[in-house]
């Protein structure tokens, strides 16, 4: 629990622009009116909680979870780990983290993905876990492949893993993508480029974490996620002026 205070206002300049002609689909799906801004209310300050009973033993192991441990997925074995924190620097414990990704060839197991790279019969592409008491999480998976997508004439997505994080308040809800250190496609990706502030985009790029890699087994990548925080003050929940 990270308290029940009001949420800090979202710093919108950190986030992607809503409409970007280089990401063509965004043009017809971006609101044109300004958002209605207001102090958070209990509707945003509370949120769903998920218990450990939800999580199966292989849920955070994408190498094995599609076959229930029968056969491993093809690809470069990696461990992705990090912490979920809030803006105050406190860990966000026991919160649900979900990921999804393409297989090693850049193909998603989804009815709408028609890329001709083959499906891996041993790879589904989804995983989930709860953070521990210190906000830590980890996944074992394979490095997803880059893939082409219909946008401009020759656009390719860099290798990436999608992350969905809940926090403890519905107003903290966040979906983002993790990129990999050194991928030359990041700088050419119109979706990554919707984040205008380069330093904020850099925070979506996970570094190789060799010290947390396991010799003769997997490489590690570290990816920390920061959610909105809450104001911590005695001067809350009182009528104005009191």
């Amino acid at each position: 629990m990270t308290g029940t205070g009001r949420l800090m206002p979202r710093r919108r300049e950190v986030h992607p622009v809503a409409s970007d002609p280089d990401y063509k689909t965004s043009v017809s799906r971006a609101p044109t009116w300004p958002l209605l801004s207001m102090e958070s209310t209990p509707s945003e300050e509370t949120g769903p909680r998920f218990g450990h009973s939800l999580i199966g033993p292989l849920d955070n192991n994408l190498i094995l979870n599609f076959t229930q441990g029968q056969a491993p997925a093809v690809g470069e074995r990696i461990r992705v780990h990090g912490r979920v924190l809030d803006e105050t620097g406190r860990p966000v414990p026991h919160t649900l983290v979900e990921i999804w990704q393409a297989n090693a060839g850049g193909r998603y197991r989804h009815v709408k993905d028609t890329y001709f790279a083959p499906l891996d019969p041993n790879f589904g592409g989804c995983g989930r876990t709860l953070t521990d008491g210190e906000g830590r999480y980890e996944f074992l998976t394979i490095r997803p492949g880059a893939y082409p997508w219909p946008n401009r004439a020759n656009d390719w997505r860099p290798m990436h893993i999608h992350f969905s994080v809940f926090g403890h308040a519905f107003g903290q809800r966040l979906i983002t993508q993790m990129y990999f250190e050194g991928d030359p496609l990041i700088a050419r990706c119109p979706i990554a480029a919707t984040v205008r502030d380069r330093s904020q985009l850099d925070r979506l790029v996970a570094p190789l974490d060799l010290q947390n890699s396991r010799p003769m087994d997997y490489l590690a990548y570290k990816f920390d996620i920061v959610l909105r925080g809450r104001r911590q003050t005695m001067f809350e929940n009182k009528p104005q002026g009191m």
């Binding site: 949420l7 710093r11 919108r12 950190v14 986030h15 992607p16 622009v17 970007d20 990401y23 965004s26 043009v27 017809s28 799906r29 971006a30 609101p31 044109t32 009116w33 958002l35 209605l36 207001m38 102090e39 958070s40 209310t41 209990p42 509707s43 509370t46 769903p48 909680r49 199966g56 849920d59 599609f66 809030d86 105050t88 620097g89 979900e98 990921i99 999804w100 197991r109 989804h110 589904g124 592409g125 989930r128 999608h162 519905f170 107003g171 809800r173 966040l174 979906i175 983002t176 979706i191 990554a192 919707t194 984040v195 985009l201 979506l204 920061v226 959610l227 925080g229 809350e236 009182k238």
Partner: protein, 199 residues
Amino acid sequence: MVQPIDLLVETASQTAGPYVHIGCIPSFAGLAGVYPEDLGLSPIAEGAQGEIVTITGAVHDGMGWAMRDAMLESWQADAQGRYPGTPGADPHVSGFCRFAADKDTGEFTLRTVRPGAVALPDGRRMAPHISLWIVARGINIGLQTRIYFEDEDNSADPLLARIEQRPRVETLIAKKTGEGRFRFDIRLQGAGETVFLDL
């Protein structure tokens, strides 16, 4: 020089993309067997107190096209206006639901209990509403909005009161189409663009 403000910065959002269902609603993606069932199938369990309501709608892009790849999440109080996890809340109301626009029609359906009015810390009350969060390919950061109900007294709601152009209030109000049935369309752009929230 001054002391540094030692706050962290929120991680930037990125679009959920067209394959969001793989991670969030695997059965929709044709992906079975990893989890016993999808998360957030229903916001209520058998025995939930209150009136059952069914809300149908669609998410429309700037052309008015009902998007086939949107994913929505809802969060709400129980029939007494208590949020799950707070003292006295109805144990049969989880309050959370996750649902997708239909891949052929773009229509979504939310079956839940009608929430009660929610008190603010200062004593004002928010009219009964359901919070919505919408993601999809082409949406770079999840869109927040709310569903209010046509047959409730919405006149003193603090959020609706903040909307300057009064016709826009209507974009947040579900229209009654029958007993316990409502229609709520979300328009990302154009005439009747939905009011999206930043709170």
